[in-house]
């Protein structure tokens, strides 16, 4: 029994069978080739079209919008064979960009956070952008806010073209705030300037909601800390093997965050998604979050509006970053494809009203940001002036969105909200990490 079943599989297959199999294989391969060609990539004119490869990290609501914009771009540019690839946001994306560029075979153009420029070794992993070539595509520095344009340079050379500014803003639940009397006649949040006024308002909201006053992301607290630290003009400068930080200002910012959770005005634990849920279901009246959360709230039936980051220490400075286009290093950079990449970036900038509409980001391109159409976008235009208050991350290779500094700072700062570290302890831990990072040799 066993022999009978074993023998056929061990002996070579009969010839007739083999022919059949070979025919099948051929058929399968042919079908595969035809199918692949049918996927829109095959084109008799393919050799005449300029090949353009874009890498990005937009997986959420803004990813969907970018996809739509790309479809419109491709429809208008039939001479370009455009393909965009979306990678998982954060460290996985940056590792891929760095490794692709290290091999000299990066994508033609990629979107990165401007705060990560230094971590991508401009000059080695990123190719510089020629401002005159950019001008030929119709883009120059007068079309951007100076504070954002400045971030695009490294050692005097241009490496990035900013697409947007995205920042922490303050969302408010209209029903809750109306009930507490925090809205003016036009349903706008009344000014709550200064720490005491602001905290008093949070107490009133908490009394009304029975939940919290302010919902914020305690799981990604670095941005909140950075905004509050910068509101006091706090400086954080990383040198060769040391750093400068203003302990008193850092403590004041930490004390504020610590008190929020300690007094129950904010949750002890709140991840990104919980944070928006707390505002949407009326458990809190205010929320500090990134402008991109607008797409999440739009999907609920809560009535909300948006304003600038709260004025706690005398101004509305907020933490922000900018999605920008960069050219990952290519060993054999093709001038034609570079030109196509610049044209593509310029097209995206000129159409960034759609980007703002879909993702809530503030257009970096002033002709759009100052246009009447943008003015009519609600609630996006409510925080347009916030872009001028944006505070970018400190300069260092480990700094920036999804960078090492953020990772390491998250620990002690979440512990503040949880009440397991006092501000003094958290500051000690933070400074110890900063020491370790500045002492480590830079890998870029």
């Amino acid at each position: 029994m066993r022999d009978a079943s074993n023998r056929p599989s061990l002996s070579p297959p009969p010839p007739a069978h083999g022919v059949e199999r070979r025919a099948l294989l051929t058929a399968v391969l042919t079908t595969a080739a035809v199918t692949a060609a049918g996927c829109g990539t095959y084109d008799p004119l393919a050799s005449d079209r300029t090949r353009l490869r874009q890498w990005n990290l937009f997986g959420g609501g803004d990813g969907l919008r970018m996809l739509q914009m790309h479809e419109a771009y491709q429809a208008e540019h039939t001479d370009v064979d455009f393909r965009a690839t979306t990678f998982e946001w954060g460290a996985p994306f940056y590792t891929k960009v760095a490794m692709g560029a290290a091999g000299g075979r990066g994508a033609d153009i990629a979107t990165v956070h401007v705060s990560r420029l230094e971590s991508l070794a401009p000059g080695r992993l990123l190719d510089p952008i020629d401002p005159s070539a950019l001008a030929e595509a119709g883009i120059d520095e007068t079309m951007f806010l100076p504070n954002i344009w400045k971030e695009c340079f490294f050692e005097g050379r241009l490496y990035a073209i900013p697409l947007d500014t995205h920042l922490l803003v303050q969302f408010y639940n209209l029903d809750v705030c109306r009930e507490v009397g925090l809205l003016d006649s036009r349903d706008r949040l009344i000014p709550l300037d200064g720490k005491d006024t602001y905290v008093d308002a949070l107490r009133e909201i908490k009394a009304a909601t029975g939940g919290f006053g302010l919902s914020l992301d305690t799981w990604g607290p670095w941005s909140n800390f950075w905004a509050l630290y910068r509101q006091q003009d706090g400086e954080l400068v990383f040198g060769e093997d040391d750093f400068e930080m203003d302990d008193d200002k850092a403590l004041a910012a930490m004390e504020f965050l610590y008190r929020l959770s300690e007094e129950g005005l904010s949750p002890r634990v709140s991840q990104g998604a919980d944070t928006s849920a707390n505002l949407a279901n009326g458990r809190s009246g205010l929320m500090i979050h990134g402008n991109w959360e607008m797409t999440t709230l739009d999907a609920t039936d809560v009535s909300f509006s948006v304003t600038q980051f709260p004025n706690v220490f005398g101004n509305h400075r907020t933490r922000g970053d900018s999605h920008c286009y960069v050219f990952p290093h290519q060993r054999d950079r093709d001038p034609e494809r570079t030109r196509a990449a610049l044209d593509y970036a310029a097209w995206m900038l000129r159409h960034s009203l759609s980007w703002s509409e879909g993702a809530g980001h503030v257009p970096a391109y002033l002709p759009v940001a100052e246009s009447q159409e943008y003015d009519q976008l609600h609630p996006q235009s409510e925080y347009r002036e916030a872009a001028e208050n944006v505070q970018f991350e400190p300069e260092a290779w480990f700094s920036g969105s999804a960078g090492r500094l953020q990772d390491e700072a998250t620990g002690p700062l979440t512990a503040l909200h949880q009440g397991t570290r006092t501000p003094e302890e958290a500051l000690r831990q933070l400074k110890r990490t900063f020491h370790a990072m500045t002492n480590a040799p830079a890998p870029v």
């Binding site: 061990l10 760095a98 490794m99 290290a102 971590s119 002890r268 890998p443 870029v444």
Partner: protein, 311 residues
């Protein structure tokens, strides 16, 4: 493990095949070599060679982002041995191992005994205990994250209804690691369970019958026959589980990201952070080597301990 079984199977059928065609012409030893060659090539190319290259990296400042590489002597090793965060992450790995190994071994044994004694529901128990094992780690992590969610989750919901105060589960430095261990046990215990069950079912029935005739009760049969005869399986399971627990990474990375405040950052994650977020491949390699040596020491020590007992 699976590779080894696979290879030996290929080898076995290969020998049988050549035996059928021509028994006398080729020496069996060389035939065997050809069959293991594909595996051997992959093994050398993707395991042995990278390990050697990795050792070389530890003496350089090689970055994942390319750039000029220079020889820096023992700097990486110095940094490795003086890095407080590395020791903290090693400690976290140890805590996970100490919590998880006994749970995963004893639970598997208990479940296997239960199944072995169940008359009617055997198939159902086998299915229920083993099913979670086939889930991809991402699915398992997502499920448990929701169940553990302090405000919306299943567990706090049940606790609340029973009048207890909920826990912060994954979000508290005190409970995060234990929560991960519970989820891991649910997910992975099926494999150990299966090994135990197979071993139990291979114990000859007549041994039990003889004991029963001599008047041994059910508990005596378990204590005097089943458990002693399972000793070798226990050794195997414990060693595999120890190594598996020391290498923990995926589910923790997905469920807590190493938080809160690094309370669950294990050594593998710290190596990953140093190499892939921090881009310092040289440093990450020396950390990985330190950890590899620790795993080898732990395995050898454990093996010695058990084999002495057996002798």
């Amino acid at each position: 493990m699976s590779e080894r079984t696979h290879t030996s199977r290929v080898q076995g059928s290969g020998a049988a095949g050549s035996g059928l065609v021509d028994v006398h012409r080729r020496p069996a030893t060389w035939t065997g070599l050809w069959y293991v060659l594909p595996f051997l090539a992959f093994y050398l190319l993707f395991l042995v060679w990278p390990a050697i290259v990795g050792l070389g990296y530890t003496f350089t400042d090689r970055s994942l982002a390319g750039g000029p590489v220079s020889f820096i002597g023992l700097d990486n090793w110095n940094e490795t041995f003086t890095d407080r965060a590395l020791y903290e992450s090693l400690w976290n790995t140890l805590v996970f191992t100490v919590l998880s190994v006994p749970v995963m071994v004893l639970l598997a044994l208990g479940l296997a005994l239960l199944t072995d004694h169940a008359r009617r529901l055997g198939w159902f128990l086998r299915f229920s205990f083993f099913a979670p094992f086939v889930l991809p780690v991402a699915v398992m992590a997502l499920m448990w994250e929701w169940m553990y969610n302090p405000s919306l989750g299943l567990f706090n919901g049940i606790l609340g209804r029973l009048g207890f105060e909920g826990s912060e589960w994954l979000f508290s430095e005190n409970t995060a690691m234990a929560s991960v261990v519970i989820a891991t046990a649910w997910w992975q215990v099926g494999f150990n369970y299966l090994l135990y069950l197979a071993a139990m079912q291979s114990i000859p029935k007549d041994v039990y019958e003889a004991a029963a005739i001599d008047g041994a009760g059910a508990w005596q049969r378990i204590g005097r026959i089943t458990l002693p005869l399972l000793f070798r399986t226990t050794v195997l399971i414990t060693i595999l589980q120890l190594i598996g627990s020391l290498r923990v990474f995926e589910q923790i990375y997905l469920m807590t990201g190493g938080g809160p405040n690094f309370a669950t950052r294990t050594v593998i994650q710290y190596i990953y952070d140093s190499g892939f977020v921090g881009l310092r491949i040289g440093l990450a390699s020396s950390m990985a080597y330190v950890f590899m040596v620790l795993i080898i020491i732990a395995s050898v020590a454990q093996f010695r301990l058990f084999s002495r007992k057996e002798a």
